[in-house]
C-alpha cells in the first residue's frame, strides 16, 4: 500500500469522525437525523393515514416513501456542511495539507451514509410499532438496502457539488427540494389520483423508481424494472456529481 493510500485512509477516517461530531453535537443535526424522520412518519401514518385509500394498508404503502424522503433530505443536508466549510478558512487549510484533499469530501459521503442508516433504522423501527408488516425475505431487504445506498451516495455527491457552489444559506434552501420532490411521485398517493398534467412527471421523475424499488422489495413483490431504473438514474448522476465536486474542490476559492 502506498503512502498516499494510507494518508487517504487515515485522512478519511479523521474526516468521518469530524462529521459525526458535527451531527451528534448540534441540535439541528440530531433533529434532522432522528426527530424529523419520526415526525414525518407519524404525520403520514397517524394523521393522514385514516383518509388514504391505496388499496393496501397505508402504513405498508407509505413507509418506503418516508424512508426515501428522509434519506434524500438527510443526504441533501451535506450541502450545508460543505458550504459552511467553504466560507471559513478550514477548507484552505485542508487543501494545503499533504493528505489527499478529497478525503474531506469522502468523509462527508461516508458520514452521510452512516447518518442515513440511523435515520432509516428509526423510521423502520417506529413503523413496525405502527403496524408495518413487510413481506420481503432477507434477499429482498438486502436489495432494498443496496438501492438506498446507491441513492444516498449519489444524492450526497450532488449535495457536495451544491455545497461547493452555494452559500450556506442557499445550500440550506436547496435541501427543501428534497422534502417536496418525493411528494410528486407514487410514494404517498397512487399516481392515478394526481391531476393529469402532473402524472407524467410523477411517474418518470428519478425518485419514483427508488421508492418503487424499495417498496416492491420490502413488500416481497420484487422482479420489477425499478431497481435497474434506479441504477440508470442515480449511478450516472452520482458519478457526474462526484467528478464535478472533485474538480470544484480543487479549484473553488471564495476569494
Amino acid at each position: 500500500m502506498t503512502t498516499s493510500t494510507l494518508n487517504f485512509r487515515s485522512g478519511t477516517s479523521v474526516m468521518v469522525v469530524r462529521e459525526l461530531r458535527r451531527t451528534a453535537r448540534s441540535i439541528d443535526g440530531l433533529i434532522l437525523s432522528i426527530v424529523l424522520p419520526a415526525m414525518i412518519l407519524l404525520s403520514f401514518v397517524v394523521i393522514f393515514g385514516g383518509a388514504m385509500n391505496t388499496g393496501t394498508k397505508y402504513v405498508d404503502y407509505v413507509v418506503p416513501a418516508v424512508i426515501v424522503l428522509c434519506a434524500g433530505y438527510g443526504a441533501a443536508n451535506t450541502a450545508v456542511g460543505v458550504a459552511t466549510d467553504m466560507t471559513t478558512g478550514t477548507i484552505d487549510r485542508f487543501r494545503t495539507l499533504p493528505t489527499y484533499g478529497s478525503a474531506v469530501l469522502a468523509g462527508h459521503v461516508i458520514t452521510s451514509v452512516l447518518r442515513n442508516f440511523v435515520s432509516s433504522a428509526v423510521v423502520v423501527g417506529l413503523s413496525f410499532a405502527l403496524g408495518f408488516r413487510p413481506a420481503g425475505d432477507a434477499a429482498d431487504w438486502l436489495t432494498a438496502i443496496a438501492v438506498l445506498l446507491v441513492f444516498v451516495v449519489a444524492m450526497t455527491w450532488i449535495a457536495c457539488l451544491l455545497g461547493l457552489l452555494l452559500s450556506p444559506e442557499a445550500a440550506s434552501g436547496s435541501t427543501f427540494l428534497m422534502i417536496f420532490l418525493p411528494y410528486i411521485s407514487s410514494g404517498f398517493v397512487p399516481v392515478s389520483t394526481l391531476p393529469e398534467w402532473i402524472r407524467g412527471f410523477a411517474e418518470h421523475q428519478p425518485l419514483t423508481p427508488v421508492i418503487e424499488a424499495v417498496r416492491s422489495n420490502l413488500m416481497g413483490s420484487a422482479a420489477s424494472d425499478d431497481v435497474w431504473l434506479t441504477l440508470a438514474w442515480w449511478v450516472p448522476l452520482g458519478v457526474a456529481a462526484h467528478l464535478g465536486a472533485a474538480v470544484l474542490f480543487r479549484r473553488t476559492r471564495k476569494r
Binding site: 479523521v14 478550514t90 484552505d92 487549510r93
Partner: protein, 328 residues
C-alpha cells in the same frame, strides 16, 4: 531596494522558501508583477501593504492554493508547481479566518490537524497536549471552540497551524481583530516559534506589528516589492532621521516662520511646522537663529515611524520607487 546585507552572509545553506519573479493576474488586473522572496530558518518576515497590494495572493501562491502565471517557487528545495503535494509537508497556512471547528474541543481540533498532517493517532494526541500546554490552553482543552474568546481562538489556530511541525509557517493577518493584550500574547508565541527554528512569513496592515515582530519587512505595493529591510533600515529611508516640530503662539508667527524656514510640513490648524533633519541640535539652533523675534512656543523632536516610511512609499501622489519592469 535591497537594504539588508546579503543573505548569503547571514545564513548558511538554502532558504526554506524561495520564490522568484512571481507574476499573477486576475483577468486584466495585474496583482503581482515580478516578486522575489526568500525565507530563512528561524526568521520572521512581515509582508506589509495596503489592501489589494497582493499580500494574500502571494501567500496563496506560496501555499499552493493558487498557481502563478510566471515565476518559480520552492519550499525546502521542492518545486511548488511541479510537486505541490510533497511540498505541502513542509509548510502550513493560517489564513485570515480561523480554521477551527466550533463543534470540536481545542484538543480535538489539534488532534485532527496533527493526524491530517500525517502523525499517527498516539503521536497526534501527545502533540495536541504539548501544544495546549505551550499555548496555555490546557484548562480549555476539553471545551468546544465555540466557547473560546477571540484571542484563545487565534492561539489555538496558530497551534493548529504548527501541529505537524512545518518548516515554514504562513500567517495571513494573524492579529486582525484582536485586542492589544491578545495581540502582544500572539506576538510572543510567534517569536517563540521562530526561535524554535520555524521560518515565518506574515502579512499585516499594522505597521507596529511589522516593526516589533519582524526581523525583516517587505513592503508590497501595486504588485512589486518597493522596499525591504529591518524596521530601522526602512526608517533610514526618510532623508532626515528625525523630524523637529516647532509650534507657535499664533498663526501670524507660523506664517512668518514658514516663509523663513525650509519646512517639510506646515500645519496651520496646530500653528506648527516640521523640519526633517539628520542633526537635530544644529537644526534647532539654525531655525531659532533664522526666526529671530518670531514667538516659538514649543519644540518637539519626533522619532520617525514606519508609518512615515510606508506612507512615503505608498501614497498615490508621492513618487515611489521607480517601478520595476516585469521580467520578460
Amino acid at each position: 531596494m535591497q537594504l539588508s546585507t546579503s543573505h548569503s552572509q547571514r545564513h548558511a545553506g538554502q532558504p526554506i522558501v524561495r520564490a522568484e519573479r512571481i507574476h499573477k493576474r486576475f483577468g486584466a488586473h495585474k496583482v503581482l508583477t515580478g516578486v522575489d522572496i526568500e525565507l530563512w530558518e528561524g526568521e520572521v518576515v512581515a509582508l506589509l501593504g495596503i489592501n489589494g497590494a497582493g499580500k494574500t495572493t502571494l501567500i496563496n501562491i506560496l501555499s499552493t492554493l493558487l498557481k502563478p502565471d510566471q515565476g518559480t517557487a520552492a519550499i525546502a528545495g521542492i518545486d511548488l508547481l511541479a510537486s505541490p503535494a510533497s511540498a505541502r509537508r513542509h509548510f502550513s497556512l493560517t489564513g485570515q479566518y480561523a480554521a477551527l471547528d466550533d463543534f470540536q474541543s481545542g484538543h480535538e481540533n489539534l488532534v485532527m490537524m496533527a493526524r491530517l498532517g500525517g502523525l499517527p493517532r498516539r503521536d497526534a494526541h501527545a502533540r495536541a497536549r504539548q501544544l495546549l500546554e505551550s499555548f496555555e490552553l490546557t484548562t480549555a482543552a476539553a471545551k468546544p471552540v465555540s466557547s473560546y474568546s477571540g484571542g484563545m481562538r487565534r492561539r489555538l489556530d496558530l497551534a493548529a497551524g504548527i501541529a505537524s511541525r512545518p518548516a515554514a509557517l504562513f500567517l495571513d493577518e494573524p492579529t486582525t481583530g484582536l485586542d492589544p493584550q491578545s495581540r502582544h500574547r500572539l506576538w510572543q508565541e510567534i517569536r517563540q516559534l521562530a526561535r524554535d527554528g520555524t521560518a515565518i512569513l506574515l502579512t499585516t496592515q499594522y505597521l507596529e506589528e511589522a516593526d516589533r515582530l519582524a526581523d525583516r519587512i517587505l513592503i508590497l505595493h501595486h504588485g512589486t516589492l518597493v522596499a525591504e529591510g529591518t524596521g530601522s533600515e526602512l526608517k533610514g529611508l526618510l532623508g532626515g532621521t528625525h523630524q523637529v516640530r516647532f509650534s507657535f503662539a499664533s498663526l501670524e508667527d507660523l506664517d512668518q516662520a514658514s516663509a523663513l524656514t525650509q519646512a517639510t510640513a506646515v500645519d496651520p490648524d496646530a500653528w506648527s511646522l516640521t523640519v526633517a533633519t539628520s542633526n537635530t541640535a544644529s537644526t534647532i539652533r539654525q531655525v531659532l537663529a533664522d526666526l529671530g523675534g518670531t514667538n516659538v512656543a514649543n519644540i518637539a523632536i519626533l522619532q520617525p515611524t514606519l508609518d512615515d516610511v510606508f506612507l512615503s512609499l505608498t501614497e498615490p501622489n508621492e513618487p515611489t520607487q521607480p517601478a520595476k519592469e516585469p521580467a520578460p
